[in-house]
C-alpha cells in the first residue's frame, strides 16, 4: 500500500494524521474460518437491546375537517383510546373559532418496546366559513417544536436525550367526495409538505364503491403530482434502490390510502373484528378487500416508523435549523455562521 504523505500540517505541534488508504480485511488463510469470528455483528444486538430499553417518542398529527373520523382512525391505528373523540353530536360543543392545537400523550408498550405516543389534534381546521390561512397555526406549532429542539441542542450543558416533540407524521384527511381535491387540501399540503411528512388519507372510504375508489385515488394522485406536492415518502429521500423500489410502489399504487376506522367489534366468521355494521353488511376495518386501513397501519407503524422519525430529524429539522442559522437572528449562545464564511462540509 502506498503511504499518503501529509501535505501542509494543520498545526505546528500536531502533524496531520497520515491517513493510510482503506485496506479491505485480509483473510488469514484457509483455516481462518476456525478462528475467524470476531463478533462485530453483536453490535446490532446491542443496539436492539438499547432501543427496547430506552423506548422511543412518536408524535403524530391529524388534520382535516371535523367529522372525517380522525380520532376514530388514530384510535384504531393504536388499538386504544389515544385520541378523545370530539362529541360533534353534542350541540353544546362549539366549533372552535380558530384552529386549536391539542396534544395528548400516552405511554404504550408492546413486546417489551415502550412508545411515548403523542397525538396532536387540530380542531377547527377547515370548519369556518372563511378558512383562509387556517394552516398557519399548524405550521407555527410544527416550527415551534423545531425551535424547542434547536434551543436544547445548542445549550452549553445539554441533556443526554433531548425530548422530542417534533411532529414525525401528519395524516391529512381528504373528504371522500369522489370528485377531486378541494382548494383547501391543495393549499394546506403545498405549504406543509415543506416542513413535515404528510401522509394523505381518504377518509370514510366506505362511501365509495371499488371503482369509485380507484378512480378517485388516481385523480387525487394526479392532482398532487401536477401541483408539485411531495408527500411522504418523498422521492428525493429514497436512500437506495431497495427503498426506491419499495416506495415507488407505495407512491404510485397504494397512496393515498382509502381508510375506514372503527372502535367497535363484531363477530364475523367466528372471529372478533373491528368494523362498521350496516344493514347491507359488516365493513371489516382490517380486511384488505374492504378498505386499506391495514396498509396504512403497516406502512406507518410496522415498516416506516423509524424512517418517518429519521426524515423529520435529518431533513425537515435540518432545513429549519439551516434557515435559522442563516437568518442569524437571536440564536442562543453559539457561533452563528453565515453562508459566506462557513466552510462546506461536503
Amino acid at each position: 500500500p502506498v503511504e499518503n504523505k501529509n501535505e501542509a500540517a494543520m498545526s505546528e505541534l500536531v502533524p496531520e494524521p497520515r491517513q493510510k488508504p482503506v485496506v479491505p480485511m485480509k483473510p488469514m488463510g484457509i483455516n481462518a474460518n476456525l478462528l475467524g469470528y470476531i463478533g462485530i455483528d453483536t453490535i446490532i444486538e446491542q443496539m436492539r437491546k438499547k432501543t427496547m430499553k430506552t423506548g422511543f417518542d412518536f408524535n403524530i398529527m391529524v388534520v382535516g375537517q371535523s367529522g372525517l373520523g380522525k380520532s376514530t382512525l388514530v384510535n384504531t391505528l393504536f388499538k386504544s383510546q389515544v385520541s378523545r373523540k370530539s362529541s360533534g353530536w353534542n350541540r353544546e360543543e362549539k366549533i372552535p373559532k380558530t384552529v386549536e392545537i391539542k396534544a395528548i400523550g400516552h405511554v404504550i408498550e408492546e413486546g417489551g418496546v415502550k412508545m411515548k405516543l403523542t397525538v396532536i389534534d387540530t380542531p377547527g381546521f377547515g370548519d369556518q366559513i372563511n378558512n383562509e390561512n387556517c394552516w398557519e397555526p399548524i405550521e407555527k406549532y410544527i416550527n415551534e417544536q423545531y425551535e424547542k429542539f434547536l434551543k436544547e441542542e445548542v445549550n452549553i450543558a445539554r441533556k443526554k436525550r433531548i425530548p422530542d416533540t417534533r411532529v414525525h407524521c401528519c395524516l391529512y384527511f381528504i373528504s371522500p367526495t369522489g370528485h377531486s381535491l378541494r382548494p383547501l387540501d391543495l393549499e394546506f399540503m403545498k405549504h406543509l409538505s415543506k416542513v413535515v411528512n404528510i401522509i394523505p388519507v381518504i377518509a370514510k372510504a366506505d362511501t365509495m364503491t371499488l371503482e369509485e375508489k380507484t378512480e378517485f385515488k388516481q385523480r387525487v394522485r394526479k392532482e398532487l403530482e401536477v401541483n408539485g406536492i411531495e408527500f411522504y415518502p418523498q422521492k428525493e429521500f429514497d436512500e437506495d434502490l431497495e427503498d426506491k423500489t419499495e416506495n415507488d410502489k407505495i407512491r404510485q399504487e397504494s397512496m393515498p390510502f382509502a381508510v375506514v376506522g372503527s372502535d367497535k367489534e363484531y363477530q364475523v366468521n367466528g372471529k372478533r373484528v373491528l368494523g362498521r355494521k350496516t344493514p347491507w353488511g359488516i365493513i371489516e376495518v382490517e380486511n384488505l378487500t374492504h378498505c386499506e386501513f391495514a396498509l396504512l397501519r403497516d406502512f406507518v407503524i410496522r415498516t416506516h416508523l423509524q424512517d418517518l422519525k429519521e426524515v423529520t430529524h435529518n431533513i425537515h429539522y435540518e432545513t429549519y435549523r439551516a434557515k435559522r442559522l442563516n437568518d442569524n437572528g437571536g440564536l442562543p449562545p453559539m457561533t452563528v455562521e453565515t453562508e459566506e464564511n462557513h466552510e462546506s462540509n461536503l
Partner: protein, 309 residues
C-alpha cells in the same frame, strides 16, 4: 400543552396487536445498511506488542511493510500519530475501524512531553466534530473521535511507571482508557495476579478513572451476567498477541512457539486475549456513548464557556 391521561384499552386482546414492537427491527435494518464506525487508539512504549495485538484482535494485517527504526533513529523521533482504517464485515454487518497508533511514545530519553501530542490529537478530533456539528450542512458528519484507548503496561516492571500514571491522569477525562498488560507470557500466573492487583491499587491511589464496564441489566440472561462479572474481575487484561500460525493438535492456531511449549493466543487459560476482544466487541456501543455523552460533552461545554458565547 401536552397532558397525559390514563389509557383505556377498549379492545379485546386478540385484536390488540399494533405492531410497533417491530421498531427495533426497523432500526436494525437501517443500522446494518449504514454500518458502524469505531476509532481505537493504542498507546505504549515500543516493543510491547501493540501492532501484533491489534492484528490478532481484528484478524488483519494493518502493518504489512513495517519498518522498525533502530535506537539511534529513535533519539530524533517525536511522537507520531498514525491512523489506519480498515473495513471489516461479518454476517452482513460492516465496521469501519480506525486504529490510531502512537509510535515514539515513551521512546525518548526525556519523555516529558510525549503525551502532549496525543492530547492534542484527541482534542483536535473533538474540535473538528464540534465544528461540524455546529455547521450548516450536517448530513455527512464523520465521527473521528477516539472512542477507546488501549494503554499498554509493561510486564517487566513492578506496576505502573511514572509515565503511565502521568499519561492516564492527563487523559482519563478525554478518552475511555482500557489498561492492558502486554506480553503477558513473560509472567507466571501468580506474577500476573500480583501485577494486576498492584496496577489496580495504583490506579485507585492516583484517582485515575479508567473505563468502567457497565453492570449487566437485571433482565439479561444468566450467561451474559456471568460473562460481565468475569470480564470486570479480569481487568486489567493480561494479553498476548501473535502473527504466526502454529499447529497444535492438528489445528492451526495463533501462538508463540517456545522450547518449553506453545503459548496460545486464544486460549483463555493462557491469557486474557479473548476477554479483551469480547469486552471490546460487546461494549463498542457503550464506548461510543460514553465518549459522546461524557468526554465530548465535557470538551464542548468547556470550549463554549471559554469562547464566552
Amino acid at each position: 400543552n401536552v397532558f397525559y391521561v390514563p389509557l383505556h384499552f377498549i379492545f379485546s386482546d386478540s385484536a390488540g396487536y399494533v405492531g410497533f414492537a417491530n421498531l427495533p427491527n426497523q432500526v436494525h435494518r437501517k443500522s446494518v445498511k449504514k454500518g458502524f464506525e469505531f476509532t481505537l487508539m493504542v498507546v505504549g512504549e515500543s516493543g510491547l506488542g501493540k501492532s501484533t495485538l491489534i492484528n490478532s484482535l481484528f484478524l488483519t494485517d494493518l502493518y504489512p511493510e513495517r519498518y522498525i527504526p533502530g535506537a539511534a533513529e529513535k533519539i530524533e523521533r517525536t511522537v507520531q500519530i498514525e491512523a489506519s482504517t480498515v473495513e471489516i464485515e461479518e454476517r452482513g454487518v460492516k465496521l469501519r475501524l480506525t486504529v490510531v497508533d502512537t509510535p515514539g511514545y515513551g521512546d525518548a530519553i526525556n519523555s516529558q512531553d510525549c503525551f502532549k501530542t496525543i492530547i492534542q490529537y484527541i482534542d483536535n478530533q473533538f474540535e473538528r466534530y464540534l465544528h461540524d456539528e455546529s455547521g450548516l450542512n450536517r448530513r455527512h458528519i464523520i465521527d473521528n473521535r477516539v472512542h477507546c484507548c488501549f494503554y499498554f503496561i509493561s510486564p517487566f516492571g513492578h506496576g505502573l511507571k511514572p509515565l503511565d500514571v502521568e499519561f492516564m491522569k492527563a487523559l482519563h477525562g478525554k478518552v475511555n482508557i482500557v489498561p492492558v498488560i502486554a506480553k503477558a507470557d513473560t509472567l507466571t500466573l501468580k506474577e500476573r495476579e500480583r501485577l494486576k492487583r498492584r496496577v489496580l491499587d495504583e490506579i485507585s491511589e492516583h484517582g485515575i478513572r479508567i473505563y468502567q464496564l457497565p453492570d449487566a441489566d437485571s433482565d439479561e440472561d444468566e450467561e451474559f451476567k456471568e460473562q460481565t462479572r468475569v470480564l470486570k474481575a479480569s481487568i486489567p487484561f493480561a494479553v498476548i498477541g501473535s502473527n504466526q500460525l502454529i499447529e497444535v493438535k492438528g489445528k492451526k492456531i495463533r501462538g508463540r512457539l517456545y522450547p518449553w511449549g506453545v503459548v496460545e493466543v486464544e486460549n483463555p487459560e493462557h491469557n486474557d486475549f479473548l476477554k479483551l476482544r469480547t469486552m471490546l466487541v460487546t461494549h463498542m456501543q457503550d464506548l461510543q456513548e460514553v465518549t459522546q455523552d461524557l468526554h465530548y460533552e465535557n470538551f464542548r461545554s468547556e470550549r463554549l464557556k471559554r469562547t464566552g458565547k
